[in-house]
Symmetry: none
Subunit: 220 residues, 2 copies
DNA sequence: AACGACACGTGAATC
DNA sequence: TGATTCACGTGTCGT
């Protein structure tokens, strides 16, 4: 459990046998001493870094040294995954039209047993236009999908919208849910692609400058 | 420099002196053996985790054990800082109303010399309501601020909006630009706070469910 | 030779 | 008590 003993000096750096006058034994003793001291410096260096890591990683106090390392790798993995996910899910639109749909199951630890809900994450990137949200809304409604969360970024007249969707009542305890999921995914894909690919060139709406048309007032 | 020797078994797990028939010595030897074996297992566990970390952290191969740990803490610090920064700029609304404005100068490397534009980043988090964007738009227009980029996140009926603003024609080559900047910052702050703090309770707009009102169609 | 890094076995301490 | 964790000193390999 690691109590004190990591800070306390358990033994006072060993008493060396007082360098004898004999040349041979003195040399050997000196060598051994420097060796021991160097080794201690090495250990202190490692343990110092270990301590830094312990302070850095939350809830890693009162932990085994090996367990600490395990927690560190878990933390690094988590942070790396998070960073990658943020990078992938970043709401900065690019110049290419894109629709990406990924399904995954998030295990929701509830009090009454663990239930696994099915979610879908849809990311679409296209030219911005006023009817965009309404069209997306309509598509989602027709597919009976509810939006758990939405994030949106806009830059240079283009938008990237990331939707976290959940199919109503679609759980993985149903045997046919997987098939429904695939169908849903396909349907959503074609619907969003249709929305993205509807070029606004025929629309009456026209961009004056290549930039600065972010705040399109609702109707005022 | 860490060559092989970490994978090679340098000595074959020590030959124990064949449990003697003496009860006392046999017990002591058995105890010592289990102790040694347990200690080896512990070392292997630690080194195993260390190896995992070495695989996890890039460019940490061919490194001292202590240096590896130093690199791990550096990596963790970097990832944590990155995550914190992302978290601060992330468009996930919280439960507290908030307005945050930060100004910074971004050096734009143009062909005709380097010109330094002044930007402001405004982050506001409040309850969502249909007139919100229009009010923000109006405030920005009255302050003659143009929006270079906007990011928005919505969750549970609340929104967090992050605006990257640039004052029109405000450059730092002007001697009075700094004062104008401060005034602008203050004005923007009071304007956004007024918008955020205007409670929608008196508004005719009312939320039915605590969730799922993300896609408010423009007017259809 | 001398120095640095590693694995090892052991004594002490904690649970 | 036995199991487990830690720091220590040492042997040994590679530079």
């Amino acid at each position: 459990m690691l109590s004190r003993r990591d800070t306390v000096a358990r033994r006072t750096t060993r008493r060396w046998p007082a360098s004898s006058k004999n040349g041979r034994a003195a040399a050997a003793a000196s060598s051994s001493r420097s060796h021991t001291e160097a080794e201690k410096r090495r250990r202190d260096r490692i343990n110092g870094h270990l301590l830094t890591l312990r302070k850095l990683v939350p809830k890693s106090d009162k932990m085994d040294k090996a367990a600490l390392l395990a927690r560190v790798i878990q933390h690094v993995k988590g942070l790396q995954g998070e960073a990658a996910e943020v990078g992938k899910a970043l709401t900065v639109p690019t110049d290419v039209d894109e629709v990406r749909i990924s399904t995954y199951a998030a295990a929701a630890e509830s009090t009454s047993g663990s239930q696994t809900d099915i979610f879908m994450e849809a990311s679409l990137c296209c030219e911005d236009r006023p009817e965009l949200f309404a069209e997306i809304d309509q598509a989602l409604q027709s597919l009976n999908l509810s939006t758990a969360r939405v994030e949106m970024g806009s830059l240079g007249g283009r938008v990237r919208i990331i939707l976290l969707l959940s199919g109503n009542g679609i759980r993985n305890d149903s045997c046919s849910s997987q098939n429904r999921m695939i169908n849903l995914k396909g349907s959503l894909n074609v619907a969003l692609n249709r929305i993205v690919n509807s070029t606004p060139s025929v629309s009456s709406y026209r961009v004056t400058s290549k930039r600065q048309r972010f705040f399109l007032p609702s109707d005022t």
